[in-house]
Symmetry: C2
Subunit: 204 residues, 2 copies
């Protein structure tokens, strides 16, 4: 099953991964799908690293299922990282919860291939793909900066080194400037949520 048309190409694709617990409770989190091309056959192979302590990992261990939601909505990335998405955001696709508004859905089954000290490494096998909406979007540095800011924010709390934290604050200021200069309302809203939900409590 070729996922390129659904937006998952070589390298790391930043998507919202949705899962459910054995009891059916949905969860969403921004996660990278790692795609490696098998040099021999030209076939793409897909992997994820799921960190210990995360709800996504708990759910995948219970159900062996996850879905990748392809979107370029910065607000959804920030909300999935720092808030609990309400039931209204979800739909069902092939038995897995997905984000109703995503541009594409890919349902995977998971195969554990390695346990590391802080994460479990899975190969993920696509079993259903749905393309909801194709579009054209010029590169917007504000979108890129908002996504980088969200990723940085998720790492700020687990960083102990003060020098590194200072460096992160400087980068965050740079991202905020780029969003202000280049972003649309949507990216500005995403940075607003990041500031509100996160920076205050973390000394940003």
């Amino acid at each position: 099953m070729e996922l390129k048309e659904a937006g998952i190409g070589e390298g790391i694709s930043e998507v919202i991964v949705t899962t459910k617990s054995a009891s059916g409770m949905p969860n969403a989190a921004p996660i990278g799908i790692i795609t490696v091309i098998n040099e021999g056959t030209g076939e793409p192979l897909h992997f994820v690293k799921l960190y210990k302590g995360s709800q996504t990992l708990a759910n995948v261990l219970e159900t062996n299922m996850l879905a990748a939601n392809v979107t370029d909505d910065a607000v959804i990335f920030v909300k999935a990282a720092f808030e609990h998405l309400s039931e209204a955001h979800f739909a069902d696709f092939a038995g897995v919860p997905v984000l109703a508004k995503a541009n594409a859905w890919i349902a995977f089954t998971s195969v554990l291939i390695e346990e590391r000290s802080d994460y479990l490494h899975f190969q993920v096998l696509p079993r259903a793909v749905k393309i909801n909406r194709k579009e054209i979007k010029a590169i917007n540095r504000g979108l890129n900066a908002a996504i980088e800011a969200a990723i940085l924010a998720t790492r700020f709390d687990i960083t102990k080194d003060e020098r590194e934290k200072k460096e992160m604050r400087k980068l965050m200021e740079r991202y905020a400037e780029i969003v202000k200069k280049c972003g649309s309302r949507r990216e500005k809203e995403a940075m607003g949520i990041l500031k509100e939900k996160f920076f205050k409590g973390s000394g940003f």
Copy 2:
């Protein structure tokens, strides 16, 4: 004429701007199209800043025409910034040269609205739009980093302050790491060209 469907939304859209001289010689350069929404009417207005000394400005002053080429090909961004694109890259659209492989083309006429010390500020009025290819692409941090690296590289030579240059080198290393970790072959190729064509001569 609504350009959102062609990929030009609110904020700054990074595109390849193509122009021709009065004698018909095509040129391509990465430039941001600035889109501001008129709060009263909800209509988008589009602007560009064209820097003095650039071929794009010379051509626009001669012809009052330019085209925006919407693409997410990092290699084309780097090549348009630092190399001369061969004739084979170009097609014609509504009398303006465009990049044959772009996802969308927008042909504009230009109206000079302000002269500043280092650039001329134009409003650009869309007069023809062509959508060639809609697609879905998950966010790839490697693509974002390659574009940021290309923008940074165009600014490195005109930066005189040594402290600022040091900061730029550090950022460039960060981008190169992200491309290596997250990018596809295409973004790695773009970083390779940047290193080859640019870094060596500039002391990166």
